[in-house]
Symmetry: D2
Subunit: 370 residues, 4 copies
């Protein structure tokens, strides 16, 4: 694996040397044999493992044998062992992600997002508030909302110029015209801008106009787009897919880092479950779970995560209390006229009240809101 | 529906008169016809509706007709309309729960749990802390844990004498001997006691020894047990089933209220999803969702909800921040020796720290911890 | 573990001696250490394992160590190892079920259900058709349906006298009067009778009147009821819970076998997922999965599994094609007047057509329909 | 909505005129008011509806009022009504898809896939077998597999040249070299070729080399790619996303049709659920559900749908029995050496046996295997 090391990362390539050296030294898998498996079958499985350049460690039990494997470099699909005679199942042991892992870098990554009024920090005790409309509709709309959320101390602005919509007949966003409005919001109000790219072409434009490139939930496994984002010179906000496991989520980030862009922040926005009273099920436990495994910061989007205005405020507070490194909140001054997702947007005055309470809860946790 | 009105409820039967009168007056269902449906088919569906003693309200559109229905008393299965010619689907409109609904009682229910040291309030701004081991193992174990959590100000003690275990070969609890230990914990440390009943026989005993009867997640739709709990003279803590929708959860509570016991508190403990990094997915958005629909208090159990010690603390804080009326936390002084669920129990000193932070966050929300 | 061996099982106790001897001889778990774990931490984990009476097998890798464990007797909760310093996670290896496993008994279990017209076989190539209404409503209703499905060659009749309903205001079944009607159906038409018990009291009655005791999905982890069913002298049909994993499903059956009743057949009836176009998601892959792990027969209930009449027929054929040992189908001659679940019942003439196609598909698989 | 009508569709544009005319005439939503809603609130909601250019139909009940809406053109987000005072919830009534719907075209669409040996039909009683390796690895590999599956009568060949892989360190496919190998398979063995495109650039190439363009599950909501596929001059096979609802699945197809390409076949490949014994949960009920709502053919991929070789064969038979219009099966002559997904590939001789049984089951259903 030839990793092209970072061009502009917030931490030095040096920190990665250990992981690059150790990738091939972990116990990678456990092969469990049937209780009737013959010694010959066990030997055949071991031979097959060794033929793959790996090392086999049989663990005989009174009733059944298991075989540990070390030396996997992560790129070989070991599932094939499962089809050998006498094998019941193969249990993966080592985690597949490398660069995003705390094994690769123990301290928290702190992202530094440049804005006209100085850098905004995300991660390592810094909690970021990101607010704005679901979709950029008009310059007037954005300016009104920007002015009001700025008063609450918010320094990062969000808004979609390219909208992935379930229906081809729904409003699809203003495109580059929307990006220009966002650039004007930055200029006038001093915000850092976060907006979504939906394919390689739009990513080129977003990289040019915005400060943070958002990859949406539906594109979390659009690997072509992830690789392109990994070659971008701007930080990336990666949203969790609607049915992504934690490993898949971290592996999607790994795609970006493996191309050389280490400036990645994750974002939980709810997963899809049977539970039908809210649009998605906000999986807040993913925050401590990510922090245990990875050095990357993780934000929470309670607007998409719940889909209903009256749930956004309590879930925002819960997200800060669980340790999230920031919030993405949809704010609209006239939600009943919004072209998209008005039903989950809160009012600027609700955002102002939220900002106060977020600061109070962050203080309980000895964290600092930007 | 003859509801035997409460014997010892915290609010007067009077409040229910309105709902009892109005149960049969709501638009109950919408029948959507195919775009090719003939007028004759529409008339036939209307006639069928009227033959059921209901009222049909056709809403003709340019392309397709829908038919609203009023007058359902909630006991008739209207699904049968779906099989009539020309019908695409039937969409239920009115909610099936009555007594648990805010329509029946607008103000929050505040439960009053009697303990040797005075009543503990739950609901209506009162946040309750409930702590103790997963399973009652020995008197010594319970006394040690009780003494330590009492120091943190905790006044409600939990611990299982009857344990529903996935395997018949796992520890199943001490039974009545465990209940006697819990009674001694009450006597010595002044706690109110919450413990689980798993069938009608054990409910008789739990009602005798404990202050709150717990119905576990696996029994949330054990309707025979719910009815028995509805005839009990003690408050009931009802846990959400692993795959229960919000409506099913509230309907399970409705079973208890419909038998005359209005002293019910709900408890979210995580639902089952594809997400595999934690034992369950804690669905905190259910807290504001319940509060919108029902007057009953709702607690959160972050121990079962996450299944891992390092997630219990952050999720506890999140649960209070989202507005839960209390926490059920598993505490064990020697989790590595616990007979059950040690891996999700926190230490007494962790609980002490948690209690401090819970109070601070409750204060931000202008709520009061008992 | 003292297993009281079967009183009336279809296979001899002898076959179980091997499993009883070997329960304590399997590699039971793999403990994965952190990459920074010290040798001392590894030694401490090994010592803890040995102190539990088990054997530790360290597998050192270049980057990280894993520790295999053998000697687990299945009754100790090993999760506690996860809280020791230096441990990342514990991965269970051996399966928790014993008596239901193919390790315990390699050949298929064939159940023999006695009826007035001779035994009906289920399992081992014998496909059983079970038909009848969702709920027993009147004697006339049951007799009409019974007469018609008998004409299609059906020999097992189903119908609920005790109905677990989401709402306390829905029809709850006729109770013992319903059981008497079913007994009459047996007498007049020569059927074997399958009906559900919902608690210990109703199980006593069902055991007395019926030929097969059904445990419904909502009670799959009502362990008190499972133990009672394990002491019954009639075969048991155990439905999979709405969110039961395969292991939990098999462990629920293990509860019944562990009490001495080996005459158990499983039944898939759909699981709860995000997919909202059908009442449940019928998980047909569970059929080959059960057959790989267990000797018990497994049936499929496409009526509850889909919840819509037009899906029952195609899913019935699919269930037979996937290798199910039988079908439970709801049949009603007047589904639009059914008191329960009419929308998922098929007509007797549809059942007749289904029976013909089921026979044809079973023939392709060299299986025989009873 | 200006739909550019098909350039090369298998059915005439004429058939769509009705739906284009009627899109704005359906009852689109039902607004349910609170039981305490005032008459003024009801009037305000009606006024708001009319101000959106729609028509309001109040349905007063004794306890609560509901308001039907007609005249929605599908492009307006009505969720905003939910935030008006007195409103409890908005229930969507009409389905959002138009061109894929049976309302738009009643008879089954039959796709005609050109191959060197004549057209292969898919849909309308024609069952298609598609076989080949997960990934194109070498020309030799493809030729061996192609020769063997051709002997079983298979006429459509599948194999990935671009592989979306969870890990950036896994084999990503041969790219255009792989497409050239597939073109050679077509030439030598007379197959029609189906292969996946993962972004706009690869779609250009796939369109050039293959006969059917596959859009994979992870890209089901990559709307940019769907629109590009809608402008392609080749048929499209669209796989269901891992957590896609039926409506989302059909709306993704609608994106393709709305750009003018009506030659779309759908493919169920398993959804993500809590059920952990198989890689995905194959949701076979989606087949009759699609057929009820849409005229498009739907295939099943039991290889990805189960992820285990021993489940592929029974689930393939089940898919044909449930009425699928075809199967996509991974076949590999040396699965233990496959670079990708060997564990779910079946052997050519297993495929031969499968083909025989598929034909027999199709015959029971009066369907014809190509």
């Amino acid at each position: 694996m030839a990793v092209s090391l970072t061009r502009f990362g917030t931490f030095a390539p040096m920190q990665y040397t250990r992981v690059l050296a150790s990738i091939s030294g972990e116990p990678a898998m456990l092969v469990v044999m049937q209780s009737h498996a013959t010694e010959e079958q066990v030997r055949a499985v071991c031979a097959r493992i060794e033929s793959l350049g790996l090392k086999a460690h049989p663990i005989p039990g009174a009733a059944r044998t298991a075989i540990g494997i070390t030396g996997n470099d992560g790129a070989i699909d070991l599932g094939v062992l499962e089809s050998l005679p006498g094998v019941i199942e193969c249990i993966p042991v080592s985690k597949p992600y490398k660069l995003v892992s705390r094994d690769a870098k123990q301290e928290d990554t702190v992202l530094r997002i440049p804005t006209p009024r100085g850098d905004v920090l995300v991660g390592g005790g810094n909690v970021a508030m990101v607010a704005g409309p679901c979709a950029v509709e008009t310059e007037a709309q954005c300016m009104v909302i920007a002015e009001q959320v700025a008063k609450s101390g918010c320094r990062l602005f969000r808004g979609g110029a390219y909208k992935p919509r379930t229906s081809p007949y729904s409003f699809q966003g203003l495109g580059e015209a929307g990006l220009k409005i966002l650039a004007k919001v930055r200029e006038v109000h001093g915000f850092g801008i976060i907006t979504e790219a939906i394919d390689n072409e739009t990513l080129d434009l977003v990289e040019q106009y915005a400060d943070v490139i958002q990859i949406g939930a539906r594109n979390m496994q659009n690997f072509s787009l992830l690789k392109r984002a990994g070659r971008a010179r701007k930080p990336v906000l990666l949203k969790r897919g609607m049915s992504a496991t934690l490993d898949e989520f971290l592996m999607a980030a790994e795609y970006i880092l493996s191309e050389g862009n280490y400036n990645v922040m994750l974002c939980e926005r709810g997963v899809r479950t049977f539970s039908d009273f809210s649009r998605n099920t906000l999986d807040l436990a993913v925050v401590p779970a990510v922090k245990k495994r990875s050095h990357l910061p993780i934000l929470v989007d309670p607007s998409h995560g719940t889909g209903k205005r009256h749930k956004v405020l309590p879930l925002s507070l819960a997200a800060v209390a669980v340790g999230a490194d920031g919030l993405l909140v949809e704010v609209h001054h006239e939600p009943e006229n919004a072209l998209s997702d008005g039903v989950q947007s809160i009012l600027p005055e609700e955002f102002a009240q939220l900002s106060v309470e977020v600061r109070q809860i962050a203080e309980v946790l000895h964290r600092h809101v930007n």
